[in-house]
Structure formats: C-alpha cells, structure tokens
Subunit: 304 residues, 2 copies
Amino acid sequence: MTLVKRLALIGTGLIGGSLALDWRAAGAVQEVAGWDASPVALEQALACGIISKKAAGPEEAAAGADLVLVAAPVKATCDLAARLGPKLKSGQVVTDVASVKAPVVAAWERYLPPGVEFVGGHPLAGSEKAGPRAARRGLFQGAAFVLTPARTASSRATGLVASLVRLAGANPVFLPAERHDALVAAVSHLPHLSAVALVNTAFELAGDALDLSAGGFADTTRIALGSPVMWRDICLTNRDAILDALDRFSRQMARVRALVAAGKAAELEELFAGARAIRSQLTGVKEETVCAFSPPANPMVRPS
Amino acid sequence: MTLVKRLALIGTGLIGGSLALDWRAAGAVQEVAGWDASPVALEQALACGIISKKAAGPEEAAAGADLVLVAAPVKATCDLAARLGPKLKSGQVVTDVASVKAPVVAAWERYLPPGVEFVGGHPLAGSEKAGPRAARRGLFQGAAFVLTPARTASSRATGLVASLVRLAGANPVFLPAERHDALVAAVSHLPHLSAVALVNTAFELAGDALDLSAGGFADTTRIALGSPVMWRDICLTNRDAILDALDRFSRQMARVRALVAAGKAAELEELFAGARAIRSQLTGVKEETVCAFSPPANPMVRPS
C-alpha cells in the first residue's frame, strides 16, 4: 500500500538509507528523490537502490515530496530547518532521525510555514558502521523508534510517520522531546562517554597489551567506534541532560570506589546483584510501558 | 597424544568444564576425577562428560593426579592452597583459572611441598553464563590465556600447562602475576564496575523506560550480568590495582565532563577520534607482543 508517493531523502547514509530500503521493499514509498552532502554517498545510494533519483540540493529533493526525511546528524538537521523549512509547502510532512530531539523540534517549529508538519523521530538502533553501503533492510526490526511530534503536528502527520516506523519493523514510542533527551543521555550518551574514558584508561594502563582483553572489554567499548562528528554534535546539543547523567554516574562510581577501598564484601555483592537484576530485565522493547503521552490530535492544524 | 593420565578437576563449572571437554576431545587427558562444592554441579559435570568419575572431596580428586586444575573463584582458589596444597605429592602440577593472580600464586607458593609445582592461569574469555551445563568445547578458541608460573615452576610444568592451553585453542601469554592483575584491572575489572554504575545511573534516570535502550546499552552493560560473588572476590583480592584504575578513569571522566560543560567542539571531536583509533586496534590477540618475560627454566626444581 502506497503511503508516500514521493519521499525526499536528505542524507542517504546508514539510517536514512535503511529506512528507504525498508519502505521501498514494502511498497509504501513510490519514488525517492535523494540528496547528500557527499556526492560519493549520493552516487552509492542510487547504486544501492536507496533512492530512485538524485537531486542537486535539499530544495530540489523536497520539491513535490509528500514526506521529507532528514537523516543527518543533529547539528545539520537543525541547520537545515532554517535553509529548507521556509521553502516547504502546506501539506508536506517533515521527519528526521537525529539523536537529540528538543533542539531539532524547536528549530523546525520555528521555520516551518503553516500547514507544514514536523514529527521528530529517533530510532534506538544502528550500528557503528556508516554510509549508504552499510544500509540494509531490517536494521530497525524490533527496535524502539521514538517520535516527538511538533506542537502543531496533526494526527494525520503523526499517524503517517508511525505507520512508516511500523513498516520498518520498529515500535513507535511517543515521548516529549525533553524526556527523550534525558533518556538517551542515560542509555546512550553517557555509555558512549564512559566507553571513551574506558578505552583511554585501559590504553594508559595496558598500552599494547590492550590486545589481551577479552570479549567483555570489546563489548563494553564497541560504542566508542561511533562517528566522532556525530558524538561531538550530540554533546553540544544535549549538554544539560548529559551533564546531569555524568554527575549521577560520578556519584555511583564514587560509591563503588568507597566499597572497594573499604573491602565491604556484603555491600559489594549486593551492589553487583542489584545491577545484574536490573540489567537482566532488558529483554526487549515494551511499547505499552513507555508511552508517556499520546500523540496530539491538534485541532489547530489543517485536517487531512 | 596423552599429556595427562589423570586430571583432578576441582570446580566443574563453565571454565573448568570447558577446558576438560576440550582436553578430553583432543585425547590429551585420559581420566578426569572431579569435585565441586555443589553436588548438583558435580552430577551435571558427570552427565555432560566433563568428568569421568566423581570424588568425595578435593583430596580424593587430587590423589594420584598428574595435574590438578582448580577452577574456582579467587578466594576459594586461595583457600584451597592451605587445605589441599600440603597434601600433594612431588611431581604433581597444579594450575588454576582465577581472575586475580598475585594472591593465588602467593598462596600456593606458601603451601606447596617441594617438588609440587604451580603454574597460575587465567583465560581471558568466558561468558556471563555459569555452571557445567554452560561448558562447551571451543570456548577459549583464539583467546589470550595468561600463565603466571610460581617462582619455583620448572619448564616441564610450564610447558605442560602451555601445551594444554594451546590444545584448547588459546594463546598462552606469560606474565608476572602483578602485571596481569594491573592489566585485568584496566580491561576487565574497571569495565565491570563502570557497567554496574551505568546500569544504576540509567535505572535512576530512566526507570522502566530502560527498555527503550538500543543495542549499544545492552553491549556496554552485558558484563554486569556476571556472578556477584565472583566480582565481589575480584574486588576484595585486586583492590589496589582496581583503585588505581578507578582513579585514572575518574580523571578521564572529569576531562570529558569539562569538555562537554564548556562545549569544546574541536576537543570533543579529537577525544572521540582518539578513542576510536585505539579501540579499532583491538583486532585480536597478538601473543608475541605481550610476552613480558619468559617462563623460567628453574634448575632448583626436580627435572621431569
């Protein structure tokens, strides 16, 4: 069933590319006009069947599109709001996949003309790989996909994006942008920063003998393989939530240190058992337990 | 080729069980007399083909054995030195697999009679699973397997244990016990403690929404599923090296925090790129680069 006649894909990398592949394979999207800041990536996206035609810029890609998917790092996604937003036409829907949502939603709310709707998105899945050639169908299967609609988004727009998310095998989870940002600071940004510090600490202590490390270390630090530019932007745009998570983590580590220093056997065992119990609850995504609020059906917005 | 006519396996869980399975499959060990503090585990080990006969205690298992493998947590391995060590006979070789080596080597050096040799061991592989039923052939394939011989260990004893390590598909790496303990504090113990703190911080901030987390969080915190008793013992026995690693890590985290707080874009990007470069070097075990010293060929020890 066709949900989108023409998709504008702005940013043809791993995330945007994988979504386009899923949607084209499902027959939900007829045509994909793509643009990427990298001409090489754009050419690869055409060769991989991610897009059906290349555009000369984001404006050309977006012209006549029902849905504009901006699949770029946070900062680029915000910057594009000022450049592309004012040129969009009533009835078009814009969504994105950036890792931090409050500044993205604020930027697009500011620049979109009336009747153009914004539904922010963030798939909680991915890979340390990047680029169109890493894109694949099924990347989001079973993953949570947070949606943060703009205040003015209609149920038509949120429903369209949620349907597309489900077609990619993911579970749409509606959250306020600020709540999303606090959550990812805890479960994604803090773990990345601690992985970076772990790698540097281990290198400081072990040097070349780092190769001795077992699978535990490789798992724990895999996230440190992510794109430095993407993570830089995340730190710059989700600063306050990250600082809060860092400070809470620092207090947890101080408690651990005190128990180790004092050789508190029973307390250490209890600490480890407690963390194991929490971690072992991580069995998958439970959509119904995390819907902090429902998508708005805003009467101020032009009905479809 | 038979290397060991009779193996005493004291502790029939994941690590000891997997080694026994590998060695029996290779025909290197003829008979395995097993004992475990848990009668259930001992019965399972017999049913799984890990041992060929049950013993009523560590002394009975060790009687007449060429090689005694103690496969227990650190503290139990140290305690067994006092109980079993003095009863062993000249010509017997003892090895172990505990996660901290200096206290283990010291305990066995103290209690072994002349002519009984100790070669400490620690496979840098494993699983968050436990028990005889989790044991499997090939668990150590490609892993580093640190060996920390006692001062008095002969080349016959170190050679025997190194050959058995290779038969399990692992790479023997000879290290002084103290160097091993500093290394694992960095690449194993610190990552476990930070995973525990990450889980607790994320739970504090996200609560039930922890289920939203993506694969990155699951990977980063998998190590927190480990046995609370084993990790308690590690913290109690490798205290100083762990405190040093914790303090270095704390300084790394403070630096990260300062860069995030000040919004230092270029420095953050550089930090992430540096950690990624180090982490991407983790391609596998390079035996030749980490042999800090050679196994001793000690003339004071009875030749084979």
